[in-house]
Amino acid sequence: MSDKAVNILLVEDDYLDIMNVERELSKINLTHPLHVARNGREALNMLRGTEGAQKISPAPSVILLDINMPKMNGLEFLAELRREPEFNHLPVFIMTTSNEETDRMAAQRLNVTGYIVKPLSFDNFERSHSSLDSFSLFLDLIKLK
């Protein structure tokens, strides 16, 4: 692991989910700075440093993204993100309660790295194989930095 700061951006509106992610990360001793945006618009501002938000520097290594959010939802945020050359390579993990095929398809079209079924947990009673794979991929990505 390098000394360089590895930023994680969490885009999530539910406070309980934010706490959950923080707890799970601390459980596996990940101490990387976790930046939290409460909706897609706020996340974009934090990435660009616009509208008074402090720009995350360096750009986050991983984005954890919720789908259902106010103002700008996860899929809209993703579409916006993929249009900007600076950020279109960023690995994005979708976090959702939905295991629906249609949602997976919509996310697939926007080129996401993984699909994690909430709640983010190792002993998740609802987890599927793909979700577990995505989660370990997420951990690998952070550790590689």
Partner: protein, 493 residues
């Protein structure tokens, strides 16, 4: 124009043509009768004229005989003929009254005969009678000669007159025959033409009407076909205003109604999809929150919690899971037959061994599956859901530590019939209907973890497939769930 009017007009036209044929033929027969009457009259005229002529010749012959020998017996034919002549003449005259030409001719003959009789025959006879001497008196002889000569000339002209008369009669008869022949020919042609015409017209009209009706019916059949294929926007364009147009209009209204209804149904389905989506997301999110928070309490407090609080937390989480299972159950129920599932070859033998593996029955339970189960062409996931629900129910609600569950199969003409029977507690017939109703369980929720959705899903799947499901059971004697699965033409086994 209305169809019935068209049909009627066609028949009327053909009937008129045939009537014309009949009228023409009738006129011809009138002509023929006329002509026959005329010919027989003409024959009488000719016969009369012949007998007239014969009588006149008789008179002459009688007179001449008398002139030769003065014997009165020779005059007998003369007088006889003389008696008959007026009658015959009168008769002939009456027969030719219609023809001025012939009347003139017969009048000529009458005049000539009169002259013959009075100028020559009577004087000659008188002269002969007066000449009793038998000796030729020169004066008498000279007179006799001149009279006989005159009589001969007159006789010749009478003959000519008769010839003229007959010739004229024959000529007229010939003309009439020609005219009749002509009219027969004309009638033949006219009736042939009219008959052909009416046959052609009849055929043409029949073809036209048939095409008209068939065309329209085919249009309607096409519409019905399109509707049955699912194209409800289709319409018949029908500009003619007749009885079939009303049918077309009704069909159009029907397809419009179907279209509206289906559009409405599509909208409702979309709404239901959205509803299901909302249920699966928004109802699950708070549940997840409760579950996570209760887990945190356990994690953070751990063993410090008194046992009763730990139990409360456990109860809370169990109910959260139950709620989640209920939501998933409702979603599964709503989804039956609505998502497009692919039909495939399903070997029921393999399917059942997979299900038994998956359910991993507890120690002491045996599942006996009949051999030689069929291979169906159906939706695998649905058949699997039915079997796994029935078998897992049999295990879940079993009241003993050991149990035997049997899967049996037979087939009827149009159905595959499967049954799952167990040797469990059995179900009171009073509850046989109730167990298929959603959220109805026969045991307390806490005794057996169940949602009350399983059998409802099973029933819905079986009925969606076109089959039926029923249970036969008595308390203490186990239960047998039997369901039918329709065969279709693509079935392999």
């Amino acid at each position: 124009m209305k169809l019935s009017v068209k049909l009627f007009a066609g028949f009327l036209l053909i009937s008129l043509l045939f009537t014309a044929v009949v009228i023409v033929n009738f006129q011809l027969s009138e002509d023929v009768i006329d002509n026959t009457v005329w010919v027989s009259r003409s024959q009488i005229v000719v016969r009369n004229s012949a007998s007239l002529q014969r009588n006149i010749i008789d008179m002459e012959t009688g007179m001449r005989g008398f002139l030769l020998n003065g014997n009165d017996t020779f005059l007998q034919p003369y007088f006889q003929a003389k008696d008959q002549l007026p009658n015959l003449l009168q008769e002939t005259k009456s027969f030719v009254a219609g023809s001025p030409e012939q009347t003139r001719k017969i009048n000529d003959i009458v005049r000539l005969q009169g002259r013959l009789q009075y100028t020559y025959a009577e004087p000659l006879i008188a002269l002969k009678r007066s000449d009793t001497t038998q000796i030729a008196d020169l004066k008498v002889i000279t007179e006799l000669d001149s009279l006989v000569l005159g009589e001969k000339i007159l006789m010749d002209s009478i003959r000519t007159a008769f010839r003229d008369f007959n010739a004229y009669e024959y000529k007229v008869r010939e003309e009439r025959r020609e005219r009749l022949g002509k009219s027969i020919n004309t009638t033949r042609q006219v009736s042939t033409i009219l008959t052909i015409l009416s046959v052609i017209m009849g055929l043409g009209w029949a073809y036209y009407i048939t095409r008209l009706i068939t065309g329209r019916i085919i249009k309607m059949v096409t519409l019905a076909e399109e509707i049955s294929r699912g194209d409800y926007k289709t319409k018949i364009i029908d500009t003619s205003r007749d009885e079939l147009s009303q049918l077309s209009n009704s069909l159009n209204r029907m397809s419009a109604t179907i279209d509206e209804t289906f559009t409405e149904l599509d909208r409702k389905n979309t709404e239901l999809d959205q509803f299901a989506y909302v249920v699966s997301h928004d109802l699950k999110a708070p549940l997840r929150g409760i579950e996570v928070a209760s887990r945190w309490v356990e994690e953070d407090m751990g063993t410090q919690l008194p046992p009763n609080v730990q139990e409360y937390l456990m109860m809370m989480r169990i109910r959260v899971h139950r709620m989640e299972n209920l939501i998933n159950g409702i979603l599964a129920l709503a989804r039956i037959g609505r998502t497009n599932q692919i039909e495939e070859e399903v070997d029921v033998n393999i399917l059942l061994s997979e299900i038994v593996d998956l359910l991993s029955p507890p120690e002491g339970f045996r599942i006996e599956v009949q051999d030689d189960l069929p291979i169906l062409h159906t939706i695998r996931i649905q058949l699997q859901q039915v079997f796994s629900n029935l078998i897992s129910n049999a295990i879940k609600y079993h009241d003993k530590r050991t149990g035997l569950i049997k899967v049996a199969y037979h087939e009827t003409d149009s159905f595959h019939v499967f049954s799952v029977s167990d040797d469990g507690p059995g179900i009171d017939p009073e509850y046989h209907d109730r167990i298929f109703v959603i959220f109805q369980t026969l045991q307390e929720r806490d005794a057996v973890e169940s949602t009350g959705v399983g059998l409802t899903i099973v029933k819905k799947i079986v009925e969606w497939q076109g089959g039926t499901i029923w249970v036969s059971s008595q308390p203490g004697q186990g239960a047998t769930f039997t369901f039918t699965w329709p065969k279709d033409t693509e079935d392999v086994g």
